[in-house]
Subunit: 352 residues, 2 copies
């Protein structure tokens, strides 16, 4: 409503091609009538997709880019030759303040490299984290990092905690989200140096966040805390393990029902309920990894998603831009730096 929000979209990123991206824009334009879109990609492919969507073109500006990033390319290769790709251009529009947020379903590693290169990390942040929304017994939680940083030190985990907390306030609408560090046990002694060091900092520094100590893997689905902080290796394995387990259980359910006559009848009668279950577990509904810690917002959609999933990623991007997450993170980190007084860097060593 006069907010003039613009989303920059990489049309060529997903496995399925630009068709699902344009269909997702159509969905999103209905939901968010005041949002505009910059659509980067091959105009020869894109234009025909609007043939029966003339009205949508009022809100979408197609920007031709002659090349695209392939799923199997390495970041180092593309950074050299990539400036004509739709992905580069999508981020560039955010960097040039023509859009508030960029969305792509392309190669994660390249997207991260291009985002860091163009947008730069926030002052004091070494590497961005990827945050994901995770369905829980109580609703949703934020888990980060789910894949950007294979190894992290204590100070980085503390940064993730601050960024995740801000994100949870902005996106989940929580006034005072609770934070937990993912570990193998609740006792003080357990875990490797980085998690113990981060816990030490989060406990001693007078931060305005609600740190609840260590949580374990089963606490994520339980919703024990609103923000689960971990390194990108553990977070990525946990996320994919959970996806695999949900799929396994639903598969077991299906084969159990199929095995007997009563099961089949019962399954038919309960088909509404089973559909509701599938909706609740639908990975498309919480599609989108958010790159946090940059001077700008980038949302990564799953490469294999459909238009519904890509529309979810657009929703998330729009929510993020509206909530002005970056400005909030900057403000929160300023508080953190003051609170952990003298120089914050000294706290990074952890201590036993």
């Amino acid at each position: 409503m006069g907010q003039d929000l613009t989303v920059s979209v990489d049309a060529m990123g997903g496995d399925a091609g630009p068709g699902i991206v344009v269909a997702a824009l159509a969905r999103s334009a209905v939901r968010h009538p005041d949002v505009r879109f910059l659509l980067h990609g091959d105009e020869v492919q894109l234009k025909p997709l609007f043939a029966r969507r003339a009205k949508l073109l009022n809100k979408v500006e197609i920007r031709h880019s002659p090349e695209q990033v392939r799923m199997d390319e390495k970041p180092s290769q593309v950074l050299r030759r990539g400036r004509n790709t739709s992905m580069w251009r999508a981020i560039e529009a955010v960097q040039a303040r023509q859009a508030q947020v960029a969305v792509s379903a392309g190669n994660t590693g390249v997207l991260m490299a291009m985002a860091i290169f163009q947008l730069r990390t926030l002052d004091g942040i070494n590497r961005p984290a990827i945050a994901a929304l995770w369905p829980t017994r109580l609703g949703q939680s934020v888990v980060l990092d789910v894949g950007a940083n294979i190894e992290t030190d204590a100070q980085q985990l503390v940064d993730f905690a601050v960024m995740g907390e801000t994100f949870a306030r902005a996106i989940l609408g929580l006034e005072r989200p609770t934070i937990g560090l993912l570990n193998v046990g609740a006792e003080e002694l357990k875990g490797h140096e980085a998690v113990r060091g981060a816990a030490q900092i989060l406990r001693t520094v007078n931060l305005p966040i609600e740190f609840c100590g260590f949580v374990e893997g089963d606490d994520i689905a339980e919703g024990t805390v609103d923000v689960v902080v971990t390194d990108g290796f553990t977070g990525n394995v946990a996320l994919k393990t959970a996806e695999g387990t949900a799929k396994l259980v639903v598969g077991f359910l299906r084969s159990s029902l199929r095995r007997s006559f009563l099961g089949r009848v019962g399954g038919l009668l309960a088909s509404g309920a089973l559909k509701a279950l599938r909706r609740r577990l639908d990975p498309r509904a919480s599609n989108g990894g958010i790159f946090l810690g940059l001077n700008g917002i980038v949302v990564k959609s799953h490469g294999g998603t459909d238009s519904m999933g890509f529309a979810s990623a657009l929703d998330m991007a729009i929510d993020m831009a509206r909530a002005d997450v970056i400005a909030r993170i900057v403000a929160d980190r300023a508080v953190l730096t003051r609170a952990s007084n003298p120089p914050a860097a000294a706290a990074g060593t952890g201590a036993a």
Copy 2:
């Protein structure tokens, strides 16, 4: 059958007390008529439990131990004063060759410390790993380490691969189990130094095992490989995340069914199928973490399990002892050491 297999059992370990242990022995004695048990614990508590199980006493020798390990004790505290505990005595019987395997539902950290102290690790193994059986779409896989080693280097991961492979052959009856290293992506470049180094060793050394490269979190439930190798931090988080997710999905299913009349009727008709689902996901059925890498077998039962779960742990212990897993691991590692010729230790540095 004249095999003279004896299982040494810590009666005092679980949260529920020795009652469930004795009930589990009764179950196990029916299943394994040729097995004998040494039962360590407080005889004042134990004897009455056999009042109506006189026949079982033919197979069970009660050995009084005056003390027990508490769940909140630290390994360092107990190692000093612990020699009169039921847990210590249970392991001691294996060390003294009076039993082939020990089972306890007690404190994991203390059990591991006592097992290492008394049984010692196998030649060339620094720390044992804890292996778990994991339900998959295709049956079961072995995942290790699920909690013993918070940080591991490349050579340790290779050791886990060898131990896990032997375990899968012995317990899952596979002739040539496939092995995967848990990582965040299938590409060569990804992952931290330890996993990349381990992959390098497993690829170059001419080992008689079927190494399939990297797998991701969702591959575990998919059953992509028979043995999933990872460090104890990641493995523990993955295991608990999977448990939490399975519980979440079943909870979602239950609440979906309850929400509508048809759902309730359908759920009733399909109750047999839903029970089958629950059985398939029942954590008690695959209860038991196996300590691999020691001169003797120790099985850790979940502390909160019931007699059915403890009986599963006894089953697993008996299978392990029958398969003579330790001797096989020793033989396999000898092959490894020869194969990775000149000194195996040199390979430990990994290389890019």
